[in-house]
Chain length 441, copies 2
């Protein structure tokens, strides 16, 4: 992310940005003031949340006009966002045929392939010759079916037999049968596949569109890569928000109301708070030591936060690597070894600096008592232990969560930090006890 | 992210997963053992890092075969990854024409539109009639130029005049001139636009491909949405890694060596460590208070980490909202107010629980001294202050960074936590001083 992203370069972007900056109450008026062409462009550039909000403010005639303007899959997305009353009204406003398509789409979960797909695609029959197929695709194009890069070969039971890119269709000899020129080895998407797996498929194979089939291999629609762009964006947003220790907002930040915002943030903050209460319990165990050597208290925040930072690094790296399928469950042992080594090296750096910080500080013996060398050693050793422990907890927690079929992204940075804080205190005070008993303690 | 993503559904995915699990030394052998068809599918599914690594292990004949197999933009991506020697060899192995295209592509930065684009696209002339244009596109398809959803209308100086989707081309009356049926209002991408802005364009307008032009409006190539899928993935990965307090790895986790990993993690960990040292300085100021009332030390981790957690939530939400352009620089004032309110509400929750935790704890007066009610009030007030402060720092820091043209994602959760820790201690002890002077202090 950098600073150059705010430059709008096209007229529609400028309109869109202006529109987005308006208060909700003025949006319809501005929208109505646009020319038909601009209104169409702006409308299609809105996301489904924004479209649904606009429908809420539209008059009945406008609702009718614009819901009919949308392709069935986009209409289904908007209708899914609307409240019950508006949902019923919008469904009533569209044609019988489209309504049937929309209702079929609404039966899929929003995050399944079926919920993402467009039920309209260009089709040909296997026994057509190429010239005939081209004419047939053209006829479908006239009926507003956009051939998105591929045409699909279906038998009379709608079962998917093969696929041809438009380029392949163009270059095939006109008298050949489709069944002879089509690609029969297919990458297909089951209609109930979750959207993240679909997005993984698109990343693995660089297709512009993939066919969605039901369990009897009947073709239901296509998912196009531009839908996947949104999915992949949404999934990353969810993971980022969870990593930061919030529930996923599921809506743009500005459109989340204050009570909703608190509802998304309070539960995790409370869980972390309750977890962090164990630090008070742990500290209570070492109250005598603190009483005898207040100097030890000075380094508590430094030590526990270093462990938290090391854990935060490890957990974000592993969670992202898991989301991108760079590491799998069975890799845990290899990663355990590697993070142990990384943690030790990083811990050694911090330990050295921490030790020298105490040793070489002006008036060290006044501030850190006459045993300041031993205090320095205690702090150094504690840092080594805590940073290593942080890297291990941070990297292993996502594996443990996934092992139990929980979302690894719940191993948020704050969550790992909390775990490490409690153990960090124990490591620190036990080290100090071992080093300083008979001296300061 | 959830648990179902590991299911490979297609044969190529299974091959790909097997291949990825092999040690680097065995990858070429496995690859050679594949049928030509499978090898091609697997090869095209690899990312450019993996392809470059494979080229490193190939024999010369294989290098020649496979580099010629790639489209110019993909070849350029691989060549960019290779070391100097291999780069020169690979360039030598391709045809003169393609080489010129590849060299032109290599002159663009990897993260510019020019570095993403495919220099091959279907073109027509404005004075052609539709039937003639269709024949011309077909001829280009025979020459391996894949019309990706659109054909572009260029004048004799390669300047971009308009665009037609294949569907529009199909349905246009065959005798009409292209200039009459083309779309002349265009969304274009300047060749030096950074990839994140390009990805934003694709998200705003749902195009499958966009034309890339130079400063004289000459068409240079097309960027397709599948390339943007990778870009958007990479950008999210970078932001996630920075948010976790690491430098961006720029490579998959498993392929980063241990020394590289430490180099990516140590600098930030050290910066945070040095920042966190101020907590020791802050604590030193309050050493007398701790001496007099050790009970105060017990709640240090609880209080500062709650501030850190609140800051981590705010910073991740704002950074992601900025990356998605949901919030802009000028929104800072509105967000300041909102985060202040959110922070106060969240702080009030934690303060209440913290207060009750101390008040109602068994033997409260033994553990927390006879002034345990005042200790509870101090802790509660400190929590309220620290959580609010965390939300404000966490939300405003990304704005400050962006204001000075720095990457907002550098306002990582650990960085915010460090800032909040130091101030949190001051808030806590000043509150305690105000509440407890004359009693415990």
């Amino acid at each position: 992310m950098d600073e150059t992203t705010e430059v709008p370069v096209n007229r529609i972007d400028i309109l869109l940005n202006t529109w987005r900056d308006l208060p909700q109450s003025e949006k319809v008026a501005f929208f109505r003031a646009l020319s038909q062409d601009d209104a169409e462009d702006v409308f299609l550039s809105l996301d489904r949340h924004e479209q649904a909000a606009l429908f809420g403010d539209f008059a009945r005639g406008e609702r009718r006009l614009w819901i009919r303007f949308l392709a069935p899959d986009d209409a289904a997305d908007v209708i899914q966002q609307a409240d019950e009353e508006l949902k019923a009204e919008l469904l009533n406003l569209i044609d019988e045929t489209v309504r049937r398509e929309v209702i079929a789409l609404l039966s899929y979960a929003e995050d399944e392939a079926g919920g993402l797909m467009n039920p309209r695609f260009a089709r040909v029959r296997p026994d057509m010759v190429v010239a005939e197929a081209i004419r047939y695709v053209r006829k479908q194009a006239l009926a507003k079916i956009d051939p998105v890069h591929y045409v699909y070969v279906l038998d009379s039971h709608q079962r998917l037999l093969g696929v041809l890119s438009l380029r392949q269709l163009f270059v095939a000899p006109p008298e050949k049968r489709i069944s002879e020129v089509m690609e029969a080895e297919l990458v297909t998407v089951p209609d109930e596949m979750d959207q993240e797996s679909v997005s993984q498929l698109f990343r693995n194979h660089r297709f512009v569109a993939l066919p969605v089939i039901d369990h009897e291999n009947r073709m239901q629609g296509i998912v196009t890569v531009d839908d996947i762009l949104d999915v992949s964006q949404e999934e990353a947003t969810e993971d980022i928000q969870k990593l930061g220790g919030t529930e996923a907002l599921d809506a743009p930040y500005p459109s989340v109301t204050l009570p909703q915002m608190i509802k998304k943030r309070a539960p995790w903050l409370l869980v972390l708070f309750v977890g962090e209460m164990f630090t008070a319990t742990a500290m209570h165990r070492f109250e005598t030591e603190i009483q005898q050597a207040v100097v030890l208290a000075l380094f508590i925040p430094l030590i526990i936060s270093s462990g938290g930072n090391s854990g935060s690094q490890a957990t974000t790296l592993i969670i992202r690597a898991m989301a991108l399928q760079e590491v799998r469950l069975r890799d845990w042992w290899w990663i355990f070894g590697r993070e142990a080594l990384t943690g030790l090296c990083l811990g050694l750096c911090l330990a050295t600096i921490g030790f020298l910080r105490i040793l070489l500080w002006p008036n060290a013996s006044t501030i850190y008592t006459e045993h300041y060398v031993l205090v320095g050693v205690s702090v150094g050793l504690a840092l080594l232990g805590v940073v290593t422990f942080g890297a291990l907890v941070g990297s292993m927690l996502p594996f443990i969560l996934r092992r139990f079929n929980l979302d690894p992204a719940s191993a948020s940075a704050p969550f790992v930090a909390t775990l490490v804080d409690v153990m960090g205190l124990v490591i620190y005070f036990e080290t100090a006890r071992a080093m300083l008993t008979g001296k300061l303690l």
